[in-house]
Amino acid sequence: MSLLIRDVSRSFGGFRALDRVSLEMPADGLLGVIGPNGAGKSTLFSVVSGFIPADAGTVSLDGRTLDRLGPAARARLGLVRTFQVPREFHHLTVRENLMAAAPGQSGENLLGLFFRPGRVAAEEALTAAAAQDVMDFLRLAPVAGLPAGRLSGGQKKLLELGRALMAKPRLILLDEPFAGVNAVLVQEIAARITELNARGIGFLIIEHDLQALSRLVPRLAVMDRGRVLAAGAPAEVLADARVREAYLGGVVA
């Protein structure tokens, strides 16, 4: 029961964004990924979530190879991602944003709509209830009816997490969940992640806020120039000489 990334490489033109990256984590674990800008973290997310294909290497979840699946198929297997700059369906309300991400609705299909309206309505009620639960959990209920484009940056981060939760996730790839978020909301988001992880949802998290991340995750991987430099317990990894040189420049004690 794990996410396995093995020897994944990806180049853009002549630039090697990912150079034989291998990482492994339990599907219900918590793994943080740090590294300077351009280290390949976001590219790694795009490859793992199926957004861009890898040139070489393989990604598997629970022993199942994902390499030939697109992002929608991976999302339905429970592997969902968020974006560094939060994205939302800006004309849809917060509630609709969440409901749109619910998988396997028979109302996705015009025929189902016209020939099984009862079933579609029953499913809609379930989806709406699930969206309400997520909004209560993330404290988004007060803005349920607001077009998502009008949310604050922090609320959009929460909505991203909420949309991931609606997809019945097993493992969520969080791209900088704390970036541009005020300190209070950072605590809030971290607490939610811990709570969800206790319920068995795994998280792979890219983050620049080292302090917040070190408190949150038991394991940390450090990337630099497309490679994984080190992986292990945060204290251990941050003490690693190569890491201090490549990433921290010795500034952070």
């Binding site: 969902v80 800006h90 004309h91 609709e96 809609e124 609606m166």
Partner: protein, 286 residues
Amino acid sequence: MLGQLFVAGVVHGLVIGLAALAVTLVFGIARFPNAAAGDTMTLGAYAGFAAHGATGSLAVAGGASVLAAAAASLAGYLLVFRPLARRPVAALLVAAIGVAFLIRAGLGLAFGHQQRVYQVPLAWPIEVMGLRISPMDLTLAGVALAALAVAFLVLYATPIGRQMRAVADDPDLARVSGIRPFRVMVALWLLAGAAAGIAGMMLGIKTVVSPEMGWESLLPAFAAAILGGIGSPVGAVAAGLVLGIAQEVSTPVVGFTYKIALAFAVLLAVLLVRPRGLFGRVEAVR
């Protein structure tokens, strides 16, 4: 006189509004100007004409126009637009013009190029608040409103409608949210085709059926879609009504021949003064 023209304008406006709805949905979700929308209307008009000729029933004609136009619209997607997805907009526009010519040529071959007229019974107009309204106008307005109600219900009150609007907002985010793009596209083309088909039948009943009728309606439809704010379904219908009423009411001033030019004028004015249209919102640049 003015009231009479206003009524005619409402019916004409509903036709334009339905066609503009088809245009704006495709533009918002598939992201190209579908120049085949007009000829999809023509197909709907002929399908309705044939069904009406065979059965004499307007309901059957409506059903036939919806089915034929939706099927043709879906076929256009599967055979032409889907293989060309992710190509530049210009390529898709040219392909759409090609599809339009294909439909028109097919209809010309099947039905000939002479004008056809729906054989609808003449009826005395009824007086409503001093206006004489033909029962057929009332029926057609009812049909159009019912079609719009169904379209808006699908868009705003169903899972697939929500997903269509989601894809319109951010196709990549829709994919990572597990929304299947293919299903959304199938629903889009069926819905857009059905709207165009009903519009075509209405236009055929109000005027005459000919292979060129839809092509000539394309400009008002695009003008309304742009005036309403491209990608805005409510805007498209509202702008269709505005344009239809403006065209009819201006007839005594500009004359019958030139009322079509009004659509051009509106189009130009909107593009120059308010490019995002009446209901359009400023889109974030990514």
